[in-house]
């Protein structure tokens, strides 16, 4: 048998003849051995029933790992900082002392224990949660800044004894204000709830809060990537914006809680990132579908997401025009169509389900649809929403007598508004905060003026971000207009956490506004400022609950 014949012979056959293999050269032997190994491996794989699926998963993971490797290390560190900060907040804030946390916990418990959606907006919590709230003095402490949490060993023992008796975890289906919320966030929270089900309710709550902290980390990651896409030329500024957001106490406070705002913020940050990418690289089919899917996820997370909807649709339509020149008209519009169908699917299902069951479960959105009939004229509504954020213009009705909404509701509350919206800094701190805020505003304006040419070029992109922001502002303002008389003003800065990516870019621009020479120095001071804000906010919460 010639060497060529042996080489042509099936490998298995030749491998079986040891005398032949001894005769071939080392290189040829290795080649054949490798071929045999490969064949055996393939054979083994083919015997595994899920080998196709397994390979697909491995392939998908490899595909995912590729882009992940491209994420700068600084972005991961920002994410880690945000996660650690939120973890601190999750520990500092006493159980159930964050707006509506008992309701959000009850919703998750209802899904996990009863495997059914909540049935009413009454508060029929489980026996376990009711006991915990009672033993923690939650009813006395929340909304009463002079009341503190439990402070004696006897109170702690009572709490532990009551929870150790394994009271019922099955509630009556009434989850208070969370009733109108879609279920996705709570379904995800059911995972840590289930993982900690061997422990007490407090263990479950802490693990659920940690999941929120993870979402906070993801938010910071997406904000960093958003800044990278929007300001690609100034690498150092990405870190200023990213760290500024990661250290923002409001993000830590809300991410360290059981509250769908945490996930809403993450989803929104991801959408902003996708838009920035689309404006820079074009709206590919994959990007369009991603935005559509994220929009659907946002709609299923919290009803407030509806406020972002018009801006998102506007953005996708706007991006499709240039995309049709690149990918062809049919392809671009087909992508848009698919994305819109995916985005709107939950809204339609939700609407249909509520119509069929006679539920006004669209909450603030359904009340919004009843506009005009229940309240004043459309001019009254517009002037209310304007005055909710900005100083009154001549000719407008005075909806907020004696109250400067811009300063007192939004600025002061952005400085500090924690606990169950009952924990604020003294007025002198709010006044002092005007100084750094004023300096930051001046630097920001300088950056805008210097970069006005670039701003003009990127006007469509700015319009989309503006539309998203205005949509959310209108929704919150309108909700306050409709329900404010009964439920109080909806003037909580946390409602605007979905716009955090814009804050990140504003911070990066602010640092750039200090000029090429002093920009990084200003950036370092901005980071320290946000760090200080976070630490003093935490001390404020400690002073509120534990002294």
């Amino acid at each position: 048998m010639s060497r060529r014949d042996r080489a042509a012979m099936p490998v298995s056959e030749s491998a079986g003849q040891s005398s032949d293999t001894r005769r071939v050269g080392t290189r040829e032997f290795n080649r054949r051995a490798q071929a045999v190994r490969g064949r055996v491996k393939r054979k083994r794989m083919s015997k595994m029933p899920e080998s196709g699926l397994f390979q697909r998963i491995v392939g998908a993971l490899k595909q995912t790992a590729g882009p992940l490797k491209q994420i700068p290390r600084a972005a991961w560190i920002c994410a880690l900082v945000a996660f650690l900060s939120a973890t601190c907040w999750s520990i500092l804030t006493p159980p159930f002392e964050i707006p509506d946390e008992p309701d959000h916990f009850a919703y998750t418990q209802q899904l996990a224990e009863n495997t059914r959606l909540p049935t009413s907006s009454e508060t029929s919590y489980s026996q376990e949660e009711t006991l915990a709230l009672r033993d923690l003095h939650q009813y006395q402490v929340h909304l009463t800044p002079e009341a503190q949490t439990i402070s004696t060993a006897a109170e702690q023992e009572l709490l532990q004894e009551d929870l150790a008796q394994h009271p019922s975890r099955v509630g009556g289906g009434g989850v208070g204000g969370a009733y109108a919320d879609p279920p996705l966030y709570y379904l995800i929270e059911a995972i840590p709830y289930g993982l900690a089900s061997g422990g007490t309710l407090l263990d479950q709550l802490e693990l659920m809060r940690l999941l929120g902290a993870l979402m906070g980390g993801l938010t910071a990651l997406f904000v960093f990537l958003f800044i990278r896409e929007t300001l690609p030329g100034t690498r150092w500024a990405w870190t200023v914006g990213g760290l500024g957001v990661a250290l923002a106490p409001l993000l830590g406070y809300m991410s360290g809680a059981v509250n769908p705002d945490a996930m809403l913020t993450t989803v929104s940050a991801a959408i902003f990132y996708c838009f920035a990418r689309a404006f820079r690289h074009g709206l590919t089919r994959r990007l369009a579908l991603t935005i559509g899917t994220l929009t659907a996820v946002g709609t299923l997370t919290k009803i407030n997401f509806v406020g972002l909807f018009p801006g998102i649709i506007f953005g996708m339509v706007l991006l499709t025009v240039p995309a049709s020149r690149i990918y062809g008209r049919a392809t671009a519009y087909r992508s848009l169509g698919f994305a819109l169908i995916i985005a709107a699917a939950p809204a339609w299902v939700y609407l249909l389900a509520n119509l069929l069951s006679n539920h006004p479960a669209l909450g603030i959105v359904s009340t919004t649809l009843k506009l005009g009939s229940a309240h004043g004229s459309i001019f009254s509504e517009i002037s209310y929403i304007w005055e909710f954020y900005l100083p009154r213009l001549p000719g407008m009705i005075n909806h907020f007598p004696g109250l400067s909404t811009t300063r007192r509701l939004w600025f002061d509350r952005s400085v500090g508004f924690y606990g169950w919206v009952d924990t604020t800094f003294p007025v002198w701190v709010d006044n002092l905060a005007l100084v750094p805020a004023g300096i930051l505003a001046l630097l920001f304006i300088r950056a805008l003026v210097l970069g006005r040419a670039a701003l003009r070029r990127r006007l469509p992109e700015l319009l989309v971000y503006g539309a998203i922001g205005i949509g959310l502002m209108v929704l919150v303002g309108l909700s306050s207009y409709i329900d404010g008389l009964h439920e109080g003003l909806f003037a909580e800065p946390r409602y605007f956490l979905p716009l955090l990516p814009l804050v990140g870019v504003a911070l990066a621009l602010t640092a750039r506004g200090a000029g090429r020479r002093w920009g990084p120095t200003a950036g370092a001071l901005i980071v320290v400022l946000f760090l200080a804000h976070n630490i003093f906010s935490q001390l404020l919460v400690v002073a509120r609950y534990y002294v």
Partner: protein, 211 residues
């Protein structure tokens, strides 16, 4: 590189100094009341109201007056004036927009001497939303007793306590260890360690990327 390092160092040093300065101060504690029990709660729809009431002894050093006014979600402006006869000895104001609370804490300039037979005049500015007041009716038979003029408001006087935040740290740590999944004061040290990690990570990243 050098500028960023200097800015970061100075900023962090100032932060530490500010924290230490705050820890040496004392939290506000209640040192007295006007002896009016919060027996009745009334809801008022509009502000622009005022009333003066005799409060007896007004302790020296009082730096804040806690008045039983409870807003829905944005409180109206509350002004308090402490008078001896017709002379205003000290006054203070809580600006409108304060959040949910069971009372309005109005900061005032402390008096050097205790005041006997003091009168406190409370003025409530325009209110965006209804608010509640607590106290005792001034005239039981009076019609429309839900007005500010017809109520003796409950008040508490506050000033910094004898112990600093720093000296209260052990009891705060103990308190923080209660009522949570992982009990014990160790949770405080764990939280401090986490925040230190946040500071170190942020500082290192800032130095690396901005230099």
């Amino acid at each position: 590189m050098r500028r960023v390092a200097v800015a970061l160092s100075v900023g962090l040093a100032l932060l530490v100094v500010a924290i230490l300065a705050i820890l040496t101060r004392s939290p506000l504690t209640v040192i007295g009341t006007n002896s009016v029990p919060a027996a009745v709660t009334n809801e008022l729809q509009n502000g622009n109201l005022s009333r003066c009431q005799s409060v007896g002894t007004f302790p020296k050093g009082t730096s804040a007056i806690r008045i039983a006014i409870e807003p829905t979600s944005a409180g109206p402006t509350v002004t308090a004036k402490v008078l001896s006869g017709t002379r205003v000895l000290t006054e203070g104001q809580l600006v409108s927009g304060w959040g949910a609370a069971s009372s309005a804490t109005v900061p005032v300039k402390p008096l050097a001497q205790t005041l006997e037979d003091a009168v406190i005049c409370t003025a409530i500015g325009p209110a965006v939303l209804p608010f509640r007041i607590r106290g005792t009716p001034a005239r039981r038979s009076a019609a429309g007793a839900n007005k500010l003029q017809d109520m003796f408001l409950s008040m508490e006087y506050m000033r910094p306590g004898p112990q600093s935040w720093w000296s209260l740290a052990p009891s705060i740590a103990y308190h923080m260890g209660l009522g949570r999944a992982a009990s014990g004061a160790w949770i405080v040290y764990f939280t401090i360690a986490l925040m230190l990690a946040v500071v170190i990570l942020s500082a290192r990243l800032t130095l690396k990327e901005l230099s």
